[in-house]
Amino acid sequence: MGTPIKDVTLKPTAPKEVFFYKHVTYITSYSSKKDDYEYVMTEYLRMSGMYWGIAAMDLLGQLNRMNKQKIIEFTVSCQHECGGFGASIGHDPHLLYTLSAIQILAIYDALDSIDVDKVVEYVTGLQQEDGSFVGDKWGEVDTRFSFCAVATLSLLKRLDAVPDIEKAVQYVVSCMNFDGGFGVRPGSESHSGQIYCCVGFLSVTNNLHYVNADLLGWWLCERQLPSGGLNGRPEKLPDVCYSWWVLASLKIINRLHWIDSKKLTAFILACQDDETGGFADRPGDMVDPFHTLFGIAGLSLLGNHSDSIKPVNPVFCMPENILTRIGVAPQIL
């Protein structure tokens, strides 16, 4: 027999409002517990963790509560000789953390505090003969890295520096599947996170005409479960982060109205922790900064909390006003 639908049930007592100040407190206090077990064990993704916190705080209009000076200093200190950024001091340079670092510096309007040419050199040096990008010098190929590369260069206004943009595009297109989605590499199964990266890549490079929007949009809207939450692949549990990736992809291909936004809003709100603030992947689970950003960003895209949350850009997951200031406008269908 088949797998029964995997889903959660929202309790009648589940939160129905945004705990605005609790989230602010959650994020500010998270970064102050530097000796905390969780904090140390996630050192390997610190740069992304900081981006999640900072982007969330900016979307809540509370960025001034973060220690700008220290954050910029730390970010700058994570840049290596080669131009790439590591997740933290002592950690190796990688595209994932290079994008996070550039996003942080872009939000703080502090891109002039680093050697931008070096970053461009690092990113462009990671393109392969077949157009793909490796994440670092050790050679792992993934469409996430194609996105990281063009998103980083785009924020630096240096998209023209990609050695072979046409091949880069063709590589991403070669990862498209029969369901209209995209996977990690050619042949890989469609996955909402990869779809977000590939659709984002095509948006940044103005190539959304390659997307079969009706086919992909259908697959994406079928990700919504009875609880209102969205899963990342068929037969999987709903999750706030997948909700963001699916939602943002739908927004980019102009099909946001294909899901029930009220139901999704209810699901995201139910994932808040009413004691500590922050969002979890599912109601009742432990919160973390990653799901907190994607919960807030999701609510922003759904547009029904515009009094307390700034508009988010679906491609970069950063406040729209930052991209307007830089002058970056990725394609939206």
Binding site: W138, G139, D179, G183, S188, E189, D214, C221, D239, D281
Partner: protein, 652 residues
């Protein structure tokens, strides 16, 4: 962090946990320090591997530590013999397997395994394939493992047929295994390539995708599914007529199966009745449960059904790049071109020449955007297009992508376009054989529908089959199916409304083309394309209507006039009584003279701004929009649109 339940703990428990974590933390921090120090001093030895291993066992996501291991192996390889390295790498593979047991979704661990296999002198690919099979037993959907499997398969030349068999086995265990269905979508085209369209699946085999739906519905019994997979796969390699027989058989089995299930239930109830009272009670409880299982037994396998339905949707192939139509208008001094695929003439301009000499001018797409588009408009910057006499105009993107049209003496416009055959515009042409097969398939699906009248997946399949067979004749029934789907799946109501709009528009275009082929050209010009009152929520395929002069889109549910920029020749457009807010796509329509937008949701002057770029707009009707209630509405509109001669039926 995923799936970690928040649990209430006592203070005592918290304290114990805190102490334990403190201890772990100390070890972890000290270990990390040790590795980083040794790395700084270039001490790549057994000790650094050992400390790294301890740390990674606890936290396999620390990517830098995997890098340190790779560096260490590189250094060791300089002095050690291949045999010694082989031993080290073998041990490493065992270590990675331990890490994967802790976290089977660790990107770092899986990639490290690829790296080790790429560097080991004698990789044992068979062992790796076994490992994949084992990990896919733990978690049949682990995409890291599926990807690793494909890596192993590519490196060790495993036959695609063996892999297909593997997916069959996985599906036999659980037919909801979308990962397996996905893999089949990659394997089948390799096993049965279409000679003409390289890399695509043979159309016949693609059609067999249609049977996946009923096949899955029926798959409540493993043995039946196994039989069916074997049957279908056997059919694929046999002759076409046998293939069709095989395909037809499956839905019949489905019906048999569904009926069998009902029969079993009835038997069970009967048995209960003759037994003791408490068993009877059980029986009564059992009945509604079984009934609900029966009536909903499609739902749990929805995703697999979806995979199947995708196969049907994916039927029409992509057309090669070409020019489908060229239209020149000397009064407008413009040339309009429609391509079979999106192109970007701002990046790679096409050349426009008249009687052999190139005409200067500028390209813009129909949206006036910087992006790819299928429709491009060339505004000629000289009088070359307006010269007297017979002329031939040519648009050339590449040697093999060009098209000419002929301007007769005294003519101000000319068309050159592909013949539009109404019947094959949106559906593949069907042989008698295929028609017969699809008809039988539809009948079987209709039988399934009787058993589960509200099942969205069954209804969707019925709709798609009807569209393949006879979209015009079966229109009313199709609309009925949509009504049921819309009442069943409210979450995706807008998706299904948009899909319905697409099919309705296809039918309207087919009817229009059929009618047009029966009358003269000037009659066609005067005819109105009527798509009013059709519950349209979005507009599709409008490039097929680029030569239409009059169009009526009134009484629909449109929020925006998306894609109307493709109506290059439209001069009279009516879209009364919709919910229009966004009319930006009207911007730039060169021929638009009369525009009626009565009873819509236009509330501000800024919404009208796109009309400023319609040079020939003379008559505009906005009656029934709240924008008309604004102070000084008339004079402000005249200021914005000085080209108007009439507003809301009053002469200006």
């Amino acid at each position: 962090m995923h799936g970690r339940l928040k649990v209430k703990t006592t203070e005592e428990q918290q304290e114990a946990k805190r102490k334990e974590r403190e201890k772990k933390l100390k070890l972890y921090t000290a270990g990390t320090q040790k590795v980083f120090e040794k790395r700084k001093k270039n001490e790549f030895d057994g000790e650094i591997l050992e400390v790294c291993a301890q740390l990674l066992s606890a936290n396999p996501d620390v990517y830098t530590l995997w890098n340190v291991r790779k560096e260490t192996f590189q250094v060791l390889a300089e002095t050690k013999t291949p045999d010694e390295m082989q031993e080290l790498y073998d041990k490493e593979l065992g270590f990675i397997e331990n890490c994967l047991r802790v976290n089977p979704k660790s990107y770092g661990a899986w990639y490290h395994r690829c790296w080790v296999l790429d560097h080991t002198p004698k990789p044992d690919w068979k062992q790796e394939l076994k490992l994949c099979t084992l990990y896919l037993e733990y978690d049949e959907r682990n995409f890291h493992c599926w990807d690793y499997r494909r890596f192993v398969v590519a490196k060790s030349d495993v036959a695609p047929s063996d892999e297909l068999e593997f997916t069959s086995n996985k599906i036999s265990t659980n037919f909801s295994n979308y990962s397996s269905w996905h893999y089949r979508s990659k394997l089948l085209p390799v096993l049965h390539p279409d000679q003409e369209k390289k890399g695509r699946l043979k159309e016949d085999i693609l059609i067999q995708g249609i049977v996946l739906v009923p096949r899955l519905v029926s798959a409540c019994f493993k043995w039946l599914l196994k039989t069916m997979i074997d049957q279908i796969d056997a059919c694929i390699v046999r002759k076409k007529d046998i293939l069709i027989q095989g395909i037809v058989l499956v839905p019949r089995l489905v019906c048999a199966c569904s009926k069998w299930l009902l029969k079993t239930m009835i038997d069970q109830i009967d048995t209960c009745i003759v037994r003791k009272k408490d068993i009877l009670i059980q029986g009564i409880v059992l009945v509604p449960h079984l009934v609900s299982v029966c009536t909903k037994f499609c739902t749990p396998i929805a995703s697999s059904l979806m995979a199947a339905t995708f196969f049907i949707c994916a039927l029409p192939g992509e057309k090669p790049l070409g020019i489908q139509a060229v239209y020149a208008n000397s009064a407008l001094n413009q040339v309009m071109v429609i391509f079979s695929q999106s192109v970007n003439l701002l990046q790679q301009p096409a050349e426009v020449s008249i009687s052999g000499s190139v005409m200067d001018g500028t390209w813009r797409n129909s949206r006036g955007s910087q992006y790819h588009s299928i429709m491009w408009i060339y505004t000629v910057s000289s009088d070359a297009l307006r010269q007297e006499g017979e002329r031939t105009l040519q648009v050339k993107l590449r040697e093999d992508v060009c098209r000419s049209c002929h301007l007769d003496e005294g003519a101000t416009e000319c068309w050159s376009k592909d013949k539009q055959d109404a019947s094959s515009l949106f559906t593949a042409e069907l042989s008698d054989e295929k028609t017969e097969f699809l008809t039988t398939e539809l009948e079987s699906c209709q039988q399934l529908r009787e058993l589960e009248p509200d099942n969205k997946w069954c209804l969707l399949t019925v709709i798609l089959l009807m569209r393949a067979l006879d979209p015009l004749k079966l229109e009313a029934e199709m609309l009925g199916c949509f009504t049921t789907i819309l009442s069943q799946d409210t979450y995706r109501a807008n998706y299904f409304k948009d899909l319905r709009s697409k099919f309705i528009m296809e039918n309207a275009i087919m009817r229009y083309l059929q009618e047009s082929s029966k009358v003269t050209e000037s009659q066609v010009k005067q005819a109105t394309f009527d798509a009013s009152g059709k519950e349209l929520t979005t507009l599709h395929h409008l490039h097929h209507l680029s030569s239409v002069h009059c169009m009526d889109l009134s009484n629909n549910d449109l929020l925006a006039l998306n894609d109307v920029d493709l109506l290059f020749c439209v001069s009279d457009l009516k879209a009364d009584s919709n919910k229009l807010q966004d009319i930006s796509h009207l911007s730039g329509l060169p021929c638009l003279e009369t525009l009626s937008l009565e009873n819509n949701n236009i509330s501000s002057l800024s919404q009208l701004e796109p009309l400023a770029a319609c040079p020939n707009l003379r008559r505009l009707d906005l009656s029934g929009n709240s924008v008309c209630d604004l102070d000084l509405f008339g004079s402000k509109v005249r200021e914005l649109l000085p080209q108007l001669t009439s507003l809301n039926k009053e002469l200006l």
